[in-house]
């Protein structure tokens, strides 16, 4: 794996350093919001922190981790050197410049517009240009993933693409589709306003374009966790993947159903009619399918491992699993968080219930639990699994790794469960200072303090994670070669093109997007909203 080690490590370290910094900011934010830290810090500082935390966690940690992981899979799953390594490094440098531009602008207080940057609040243009550079770097990654898969298929005609690579490319294709919305909003609307070329902005259109990206991006973040579930976890547990076909279908489902559902982030918005909201709610119900299918396939795969290790009885195989293996432990904890987060997602989707919790702490709880919890804990597990291959050193002890994972799980549950409850009580989002003199708000105080406790555990876990990886670079125990990817119970011999490539699915995505988003976007061209004056927050 010498070929792309440094490239992968560079991406991972950028992601994880941003993650650690953002974790510290998150803990500070929780302190300031709680009764214990009331009236500490100004709103200017708070919203600067929220913007930095959001950008680092949502755009830097995720994108660079996924890019690094993708390069790793392209080399190890396909057993070939990475195509276009020069391009990959160039893209990385462009990405680093973009991250620096964005974070420095935020730190100067010229971009306190939050990671969702809803116009007409407008930041310094450097904030947006930085983000555009990060997206551009990721597009290079997408192309390289497609090129790698195509090259392998040419070299191996008629053979099934290894599942890990198929899933990675599915994610790359998804990302290309996903970023169109945000890119269009930035280039066509927000950047001209930020540069001062226009003084007004069509807010309905910008929210709609952003919603295109806003849902699909969370699946972009989630898919690496699923890649680990399907291709690494069964091997780590000592078993096999129950069904390769269902694995492929899961990723295909994600590709099709993540995109034409963005309007469910705008269920409470006035600028769209009920009809299109219902269409996209219906499609959202189908994006639950791949997760629920996974809830069968992965435990089935683990059951094979458990029984091979001697587990007996209906549930005896669960205890027999190697829970001391970080990948297995992380997956188990991830599934618990996925369960809670997924149920929360179903509630968000039903607009009658959404009306109770929109823009409350419930939403904050939901995405911290499902992304920060279920997905990111698998990022940790993937890092722990592949770091020895990247550094050539083995973990000296798995105990700190398990501690870190447990701390993350307990911290995340402690932080998010009270938040869910507070959201139901009506606690609203993005508040720098609560009025704890109001009796209703004062009654929320104890739960806010509990979730602050969770946040502090998460901070400890984040720092321990970085430490666990850093020590490997100076480790002494050489890594032992071990197979990484799982075999399926029935390895595929011959697959239909639909399960080996994305031609058909791209066509179906295009058609669904035209039907689901066509009119909602076209209405702004045909009958533009009355525009709003730009409010410059710089």
């Amino acid at each position: 794996m010498r070929n792309a080690d440094r490239l992968c490590l560079a991406h991972f370290w950028l992601a994880f350093v941003a993650f650690a910094g953002a974790a510290m900011l998150g803990a500070w934010q929780m302190w300031v919001r709680s009764p214990l830290g009331a009236h500490t810090g100004t709103p200017g500082q708070y919203y600067m922190s929220v913007t930095a935390h959001g950008v680092a966690m949502a755009y830097v940690l995720s994108t660079f981790f996924i890019m690094g992981f993708g390069y790793f899979v392209a080399v190890t799953a396909l057993h070939r050197p990475l195509s276009g390594k020069g391009w990959a490094w160039t893209a990385f440098v462009v990405g680093v410049i973009g991250v620096a531009m964005t974070l420095v602008t935020i730190a100067l207080g010229k971009a306190s517009v939050l990671y969702t940057f809803y116009p007409p609040l407008t930041a310094s243009p450097w904030f947006y240009i930085g983000l555009i550079l990060v997206v551009a770097a990721s597009w290079v990654w997408c192309v390289l993933m497609l090129v790698s898969m195509a090259a392998w298929k040419r070299e191996n005609p008629g053979r099934p693409v290894p599942l890990a690579m198929f899933a990675t490319v599915a994610n790359a294709v998804l990302w290309l589709w996903t970023t169109v919305g945000m890119a269009a909003e930035l280039v066509y609307q927000v950047l001209p306003a930020a540069l001062g070329f226009v003084q007004t902005i069509d807010v309905g259109l910008s929210r709609t374009l952003f919603s295109w990206t806003l849902h699909a991006i969370v699946y972009f973040w989630l898919i690496p966790a699923y890649i680990a579930y399907y291709t690494m976890l069964p091997r780590a547990a000592g078993g096999r993947l129950y069904s390769d076909t269902m694995g492929r279908l899961t990723f295909v489902f994600f590709l099709i159903y993540s995109l034409p559902v963005g309007l469910h982030h705008l269920l409470m918005d006035p600028e769209h009619g009920n009809g299109f909201k219902l269409i996209q709610v219906l499609l959202t119900a189908f994006v639950t399918a791949p997760t629920v299918l996974t809830i069968f396939t992965i435990p089935a795969s683990l059951e094979i491992a458990g029984r091979l290790r001697g587990g007996r009885g209906v549930f005896g195989w669960i205890a027999a699993l190697p829970w001391d293996c970080p990948m297995v432990l992380a997956a188990g904890l991830s599934f618990v968080m996925l369960g809670f987060g997924g149920l929360g997602g179903l509630i968000n989707m039903a607009y009658g219930m959404n009306a109770m919790i929109h823009n409350t702490s419930w939403v904050t709880a939901h995405f911290h639990l499902i992304y920060g919890g279920a997905a990111v804990i698998m990022y940790f597990a993937i890092a722990y699994e592949i770091w020895p291959r990247l550094t050539g050193r083995q973990h000296e002890s798995l105990v700190p790794l398990r501690w870190q994972l447990w701390l993350w799980f307990v911290g995340m549950m402690t932080m998010t469960l009270p938040w869910h409850w507070l959201g139901l009580e009506g606690q609203w989002r993005r508040v720098a200072n609560f009025n704890y003199d109001n009796p209703l708000i004062a009654s929320w105080g104890p739960l806010v303090i509990v979730s602050l406790g969770g946040g502090l555990l998460l901070l400890a876990s984040a720092l321990l994670f970085v430490r666990n990886l850093a020590v490997l670079h100076r480790g002494v125990v050489p890594a032992s070669a071990r197979p990484l990817y799982a075999l399926a119970v029935d390895p595929p011999q011959r697959l239909p093109a639909a399960l080996n490539g994305f031609g058909l699915w791209n066509v179906l995505v295009l058609l669904s997007m035209l039907l689901a988003y066509g009119f909602p976007i076209a209405q702004f061209v045909v009958a533009p909203s009355p525009t709003a004056i730009v409010h410059r927050a710089e």
Binding site: L121, G275, F276, I279, F434, L504
Partner: protein, 274 residues
């Protein structure tokens, strides 16, 4: 068993069935959302099918399930100034030199040629926000804001010269704040300026009045303003005597401030804190 190397045998059924499945799902959503639900809802609300469907699409306002409200036409607005891109363009292209000439002719007698006023009850205008000056002059012209001296003066001006005067004063340099007074800002006042008071619904003054905060575009700069002027304006907002703040933003806030806070804020801003 069919020829294993013939791709069509394997691929074709996938293409057909996947397309049918996905399209069926999307179209059933459309059928339900755009046709069935609005028509059924409209029927129980007494709304005809065509209107209900248009509402569901978003072509007509309202809900397919409830009759739409008919709105009334009400009386006089509090300010006639409308911030359009055209107006912002006019302000950006104004001629400060023409404004300077008018200032020497009319305004400097009270507001000073450099924008430092001759007496404490007249406001300083040096370095004031151009949009703020423009709005106040127009409000005097339209009667949204009244003052025995300013009303007649403003009525004699036209839109263009107002923009020029605004641009001129906005370009005038502000003085250096007095270092000795900078040290004595009381905590409670600083708290109001930076944090506001959530107990009383008061946002931080800085959230609107500091440059780059992203607040209303006609929010005036308060730094180095005359203390007596600030005090009198806050009191006039509190009593409702001054009512040209759109939607009562300042009236609502000023009514909640105590006398001590009003005085404290005026002292704070006179010293030059931004």
């Amino acid at each position: 068993m069919a020829e294993p190397s013939d791709p069509r045998v394997l691929d074709q059924p996938w293409r057909i069935w996947a397309s049918i499945a996905v399209m069926a799902i999307v179209l059933s959503g459309a059928l339900l959302g755009v046709l069935i639900i609005p028509v059924v809802q409209g029927r129980s609300a007494g709304i005809d099918a065509y209107t209900a469907i248009c509402r569901a699409l978003g072509i007509l306002p309202g809900s397919p399930a409830r009759p739409q409200i008919v709105d009334r036409n009400p009386p006089t607005p509090v300010s006639q100034v409308v911030w359009t891109p055209g107006l912002l363009q006019t302000l950006a292209e104004a001629t400060p030199e023409r404004g300077h000439a008018k200032v020497q002719e009319v305004c400097s007698a009270c507001h000073g040629e450099q924008g430092v006023s001759v007496s404490t009850e007249f406001p300083n205008l040096a370095g004031q926000s151009g949009t703020a000056i423009y709005k106040q002059l127009n409000d005097y012209r339209s009667g949204s804001r009244t003052n025995p001296l300013m009303t007649d003066i403003a009525k004699a001006l036209d839109e263009t010269i107002i923009a020029d005067v605004a641009a001129y004063y906005a370009g005038q340099p502000t003085r250096n704040p007095d270092p000795s007074t900078l040290a004595v800002a009381p905590d409670a006042i600083v708290r109001l300026v930076e944090l506001g008071d959530p107990n009383r619904n008061i946002p931080p003054c800085a959230a609107c009045h500091r440059q780059g905060a992203g607040g209303p575009i006609d929010a005036p700069v308060l730094a180095e303003q005359r203390q007596e002027y600030l005090t009198s304006q806050l009191k006039m907002f509190a009593s409702g005597e001054r009512r040209n703040d759109v939607y009562g933003r300042m009236r609502t806030i000023a009514a909640k401030l105590t006398e001590g806070e009003i005085n404290g804020l005026a002292v704070y801003y006179r010293a030059g804190f931004r």
